[in-house]
Symmetry: none
DNA sequence: TGGGATTATATGGGCGTCAATGGGTATATG
DNA sequence: CATATACCCATTGACGCCCATATAATCCCA
């Protein structure tokens, strides 16, 4: 499986370390399995994360913008300066930077939610609430969900 | 990681030295790991920096401008003639030339902002304000920022 | 197929190394 | 010679690496 799926609830230890779920680690390419990138989610108070390969894609895309335009700087600043890379230790743990923990309201425990090509890290209660909320929204438009699931490529 | 990412706040000591963040040093090619170039940003009151190898890339971008336009001369002059090279000492520190510190309003502390293939050095408060401003501009077009982050190859 | 043995995962903690910072002294450069 | 800059050494705190344990998952063979 090369997608981030399912949800996990892990603890942050005294040193601030937390285990990246094993199944998530396996999604990372063997080459860069000891490094991930983290950034503040744009539309929720959660942290989003993924492998570094994804960042290189983004870099390429930004590089194609007009270098002398204002957009270039805006994207570059909002993305590159906001992204942090963190190392994963031999046991599969990493540190969540203080600023990101504050942003997401995370203290001693965190919830990992698979999102396919990336994952989210939530304060557990907020994360669960968000799941409920989004499911409720989807069910309101059951028809579109049905289409999404049954439509053939 | 071969990109300048994240942000760091470091101090300038009595001798005028400041540490280039360790993760930035690692982006520099092992060959020229003790030298960087600095120049005034064209678009903001910040200093931009990168490894010497990036000079060619800058030259290429300027060359793509219309040779007979006023912009060409302006950019060419503003950038090339203003570039300074500085050496990084054994501990990873370097000196920010007085003129550049003045230009950016930097005194005792400076903020490093990753920008992918280069980085910016700001007076800390101005740098943070700039980040907010540019994010605000982008969020007006939420769709485009989101696309940038989530679009698949 | 049952049950013990092996392996993996999440978690805890000791300790050495490195990054950021400070300062003394040699060296260079005008 | 005077000032600036490079090199060397020191300190502190953070982080990475190593080892350890408990629980859970998997295996493997009688």
């Amino acid at each position: 499986m090369d997608l981030f799926v399912s949800k996990y609830f892990n603890k942050i230890d005294k040193k601030g370390r937390i285990s990246l779920p094993s199944s998530f680690r396996n999604v990372l390419p063997k080459a860069n399995r000891n490094e991930i990138i983290l950034y503040k989610s744009i539309k929720s108070s959660s942290i989003e994360g993924c492998g570094v390969g994804r960042l290189k894609e983004i870099a390429k895309r930004i590089n194609n913008l007009d270098f002398f335009s204002e957009d270039y700087d805006d994207f570059s600043t909002s993305i590159f300066s906001e992204i942090v890379t963190t190392n994963i230790d031999k046991e599969g743990r990493f540190l969540i930077p203080e600023e990101l923990k504050l942003y997401a309201g995370i203290k001693t425990e965190a919830a990992f939610f698979g999102q396919g090509h990336f994952f989210q890290i939530w304060e557990p209660k907020q994360g669960l609430k968000n799941t409920e909320d989004s499911r409720r929204r989807l069910l309101k438009e059951k028809k579109s969900l049905r289409m999404m699931l049954t439509q053939q490529k």
